[in-house]
């Protein structure tokens, strides 16, 4: 049971108190102004005062969280971030999502899939076959591939917005043993690696026509102006935070949470992907050229994907049974392949 209220619920409570409604309304205006251009010092402190007054009356608005992939997710996230006006760096690393429901199913996912045998068989082809035969996975996969490969009429471009939406729908609606199975299948050949790399249709989901990479900080600043993207980024920073003090290398000590948070970024402005077909290394599609004095901050953002022990361990666990650490919960039997399932 989650110890958090849902932000929609917290907002409904606030709606019963006219004073809270007025304060919240004021905060929304502050958030709207801040989205256009940085608030002046005076305006910022007035907004922060208003924020303090609101949270004093309705602390549940500060403690509330949201459910990923839920129908009203974006509405919930708007409330979550409106209340955190002008968030500091650390608030941008706290996840807006509940993660409690996850542990049991996630652990089983990581464990189950890690019983895949690595006998040279193309595991990503196998994961694709399993998906193709599980009706919901097959149809939602066709949906995102169609959205991401279709050209906009009269142009050579794809509709990236539709592609992102379809990718998110696939990752949120399809059971994770299938969706994360096609994302994190282990590879021992370049053919398998190329299939894994192209699974999220890079030519549309993040690459641009001329192949020009944005600056990573620039990309992050665009992401942080979109409630969904900054939530998924915060979720990733939170759940894939490395730590030298835990066996998994993850501060939250759960490979499953990190994988899900990483997958949550797919279909946003900061869509990460494998960098080649012969390694499991992943990165953002950006570089640090033109970072000026913030070159090191840019490097650090890049390295959260390229040199993150927690993320690397979590990805590699998806396929190598021997390096499976003592996960918190014991793994159930492996996922039955639909090929043997009775119709």
């Amino acid at each position: 049971p989650s110890s958090h209220t849902d932000c929609l619920e917290a907002h409904r409570e606030c709606a019963t108190d006219p004073r809270c409604v007025a304060l919240y309304r004021g905060l929304e205006l502050c958030a709207a102004d801040a989205a256009v251009s940085p608030l002046a010092e005076q305006a910022a402190s007035e907004c922060l005062e208003r924020q303090d007054a609101l949270l004093a009356r309705h602390p549940s608005l500060l403690a509330c969280k949201c459910q990923r992939g839920f129908r009203k997710e974006e509405q919930c996230l708007r409330i979550y971030w409106s209340v955190r006006l002008l968030p500091g760096e650390d608030e941008l690393e706290v996840s807006p999502y509940y993660d409690t429901l996850v542990d049991t199913r996630m652990a089983s996912l990581v464990a189950a899939s890690s019983f895949m045998q690595l006998d040279g068989e193309n595991q990503c082809l196998k994961a694709a076959q399993d998906c193709g035969l599980y009706e919901k996975c097959g149809s939602l996969r066709s949906e995102y591939v169609l959205a991401c490969t279709k050209r906009m009429t009269g142009t050579n471009r794809c509709n990236q917005h539709k592609c992102h939406r379809a990718l998110r729908r696939f990752l949120e609606r399809v059971p994770e043993e299938y969706s994360l199975g096609v994302l994190f299948c282990p590879c021992t050949s370049t053919l398998c690696g190329e299939r894994r790399r192209k699974t999220i249709v890079p030519s549309c989901s993040y690459q641009d026509m001329e192949g020009l990479q944005p600056n990573c900080l620039h990309q992050q600043s665009f992401c942080r102006r979109d409630d969904l993207c900054r939530s998924r980024l915060a979720d990733f920073l939170n759940n894939c935070q490395p730590s030298h003090l835990t066996a998994s290398g993850c501060l939250k000590d759960s490979a499953g949470l990190c994988l899900r948070a990483y997958a949550g970024l797919i279909g946003t402005i900061m869509t990460p992907n494998y960098i080649s077909n012969n390694s499991a290394e992943v990165s953002l599609w950006c570089n640090c050229e033109g970072s000026g004095n913030q070159w090191q901050d840019c490097q650090r953002l890049q390295r959260l994907f390229t040199h993150n022990s927690c993320l690397r361990n979590s990805i590699s666990w998806m396929g190598s049974p021997d390096s499976l650490p003592q996960d918190i919960t014991q793994p159930p039997a492996p996922r039955p392949s639909p090929l043997v399932q009775e119709d």
Binding site: A56, E89, N215, L217, G292
Partner: protein
């Protein structure tokens, strides 16, 4: 005043007593008179974490220490999914004067991240030398502003381990391969920068921090690398390396958006793409010519990029200035002009922050003429309507961009008889899609077959769309083969593409068939391939993945190139999304609906 480091990390343990020093934050001076005053601060007064009162920051030294002894209960108090370690986040600010405010002065106040671990501090025996000497993973590298005052930028001693091994003596010094203005203050064990830095000289100093531990007779040496970055300031003026003048000739290519010439301006400072407002090293350019024609016609495009300087590999900025056409130029435009463009580095404090660039532009008129050759085309009288005869275009037509040329056919001798005049209806001309060629095709196949219609001489007139300038040339269409007595009547021509078998195909009279008969292409591949079997009016132009101007007059001429309808069977669409580039087996079409099928089925009936 500024913080050279925006993130500090350390680990704290249950049982550490009140007063224990944890780490020391440092600020560097922007002016000699400043005196730093350090405070812990909070982003919002209400959202203070429960552990805010456990720590205190010394106003003058910046040393962070425990305000209480850390207990097991403190650990349990904190909500966090991980059961081993809780992450505490504090913020520090530095002001030149004393203050009582607790709200952070600005949003990106440096962060102090403490891993609070649910065990006691490791004793001397359990602490390896590296742990004793240095924090576990100090991710944040110092950034020192160039042209500033010397000063301490980091405490090297690991304060939390001060008394863990009392009978050890620990000292530090700094080494580096290249000369670096850094030293260690032996009394305070602080790393100090000893002279103002110049980023254009070195933007990163790769130091090695060496920790020497003496325990009676045993001396142990531990070292870790430390990169100190130098932050840039706009302290360099723009300069031109090479020419500041571009000589440009505009002739055939005179299209809107076309760019010409390239002049490079260098700046040893950095130009950040991010943050977006680009307040650092901001360049503004001004076209000094007042002539309105120039302002309406030309623009200067500035694209900057970062490059590594040849000496030292230091990052610097290169601006590439190009002349851009804001509109198409008429073919008759014929002038020479001199453009002066003032480049100004607005954020450079010095006087010489500007550079002047010169674009000498010569615009040549483009003659509309045909090459001096006679065009002879041979055509069989059996050709079907829409059969392609050939194509013509004005001189240099492949280089033309920015203006269009239309073509029309004229009868050379206007007072021929009405009958003879009707012969000339046999051939027509149309514009190719990219507006360069004139495509000749059969417009009236009946006229071709009439015996009284002998060889046809036409005049092709090319006209430029804006200026109406014209040019003309003679073409000669030689009619080959027997004139047939019986008129074909309005015999309904089918699309060649409907034929699925070689026999049907080669015996059919199809639309656009140059020889009068459709032509069969036999594919060889079993899989989806570009070399698919199909029936075509003319294998030279169909299928060729281009739905040309004649084929697009009627989709059934060459649906293989032109269809926009869904294709049934394994296939690959053409580049523009229409037509069939590759097909599985045989491609055949009913009007625009095409199939790709291995051995297309005979008539199979409803059961």
């Amino acid at each position: 005043l500024y913080f050279p480091q925006n993130e500090y990390t350390e680990t704290v343990y249950v049982g550490q007593p009140v007063g224990t020093p944890i780490l020391q934050v440092h600020a560097m001076l922007d002016s000699d008179s400043e005196r730093p005053h350090f405070y812990l601060c909070w982003l919002s007064s209400l959202r203070r974490p429960p552990y805010s009162s456990w720590f205190q920051l010394d106003i003058y030294t910046g040393v962070l220490s425990l305000n209480k002894t850390l207990e097991e209960s403190d650990f349990a108090l904190l909500y966090h999914t991980s059961r081993y370690v809780k992450k505490l986040i504090l913020h520090a600010m530095v002001l030149p004067e004393l203050t009582h405010r607790s709200k952070c002065a600005n949003r990106n106040a440096p962060r102090i991240m403490l891993d609070f671990v649910n065990t006691t501090l490791p004793q001397c025996a359990q602490t390896d030398m590296k742990e004793l000497c240095f924090p576990h993973r100090d991710t944040s590298n110092p950034h020192v502003r160039e042209n500033r005052f010397p000063g301490a930028l980091r405490q090297l001693r690991r304060l939390t381990r001060l008394n863990v091994c009392p009978n050890y003596t620990i000292s530090y010094h700094v080494e580096s391969d290249t000369p670096a203005p850094f030293a260690v203050n032996d009394n305070t064990t602080e790393l100090v920068v000893t002279a103002p830095l110049d980023r254009e000289e070195s933007e990163c100093y790769r130091l090695v921090l060496v920790c020497t531990v003496r325990q009676e007779t045993i001396i142990t040496r531990e070292d870790i690398p430390l990169d100190v970055f130098v932050n840039d300031e706009d302290d360099n003026a723009p300069y031109v390396n090479g020419t500041d003048t571009a000589d440009i000739v505009i002739s055939f290519n005179r299209t809107k958006g076309g760019s010409f010439g390239s002049l490079f301006v260098f700046d040893r400072d950095l130009t950040p793409i991010y943050p977006i407002d680009q307040s650092h090293n901001k360049y503004v350019g001004t076209l000094l010519n007042s002539d309105p024609w120039i302002k309406e016609t030309f623009d200067i495009k500035d694209t900057f990029s970062e490059k590594k300087a040849s000496h030292g590999g230091i990052r610097e900025t290169v601006h590439d200035y190009q002349l851009v056409l804001k509109r198409n130029l008429y073919v008759t435009e014929n002038r020479t002009l001199y453009l002066d463009y003032l480049v100004n580095d607005t954020t450079y404090p010095g006087l010489e922050g500007t550079v002047m660039l010169h674009f000498n532009v010569t615009i040549l008129p483009v003659p509309i003429r045909f090459a001096n050759i006679t065009h002879i085309f041979t055509l069989t009288r059996r050709a079907s309507v829409y059969a392609q005869v050939g194509r013509v275009c004005v001189d240099h037509c492949l280089q033309i961009d920015g203006f269009g040329v239309t073509y029309r056919l004229e009868v050379p001798d206007k007072n021929v008889s009405a009958d003879l005049l009707s012969c000339y209806a046999a051939i027509s001309i149309t514009q190719s899609s990219e507006g360069v060629w004139g495509l000749l095709y059969v417009n009236d196949s009946e006229a071709l077959r009439r015996s009284d219609c002998q060889d046809l001489q036409y005049v092709v007139v090319a006209q430029e769309e804006h200026t109406q300038l014209e040019a003309s040339t003679q073409i000669h269409v030689v009619l080959d083969g027997e004139a047939s007595k019986a008129a074909q009547g309005g015999q309904q021509l089918q699309s060649c593409a409907e034929k699925r078998w070689r026999g049907d195909c080669e015996s059919a009279r199809g639309l656009g068939a140059t020889t009068g008969r459709c032509q069969w292409r036999q594919g060889t591949q079993k899989a989806i391939s570009e070399d698919y079997s199909t029936c075509s009016p003319d294998l030279r132009t169909c299928p060729d993945s281009v739905c040309d101007a004649v084929e697009s007059k009627d989709m059934t001429i060459c649906p293989q190139d032109c269809t926009k309808e869904p294709v049934i069977g394994g296939h690959e669409r053409g580049l523009s999304g229409s037509g069939i580039k590759a097909c599985h087996g045989t491609c055949y079409c009913f009007s625009e609906k095409c199939f790709c099928e291995i051995d297309p089925v005979e008539e199979v009936l409803c059961d």
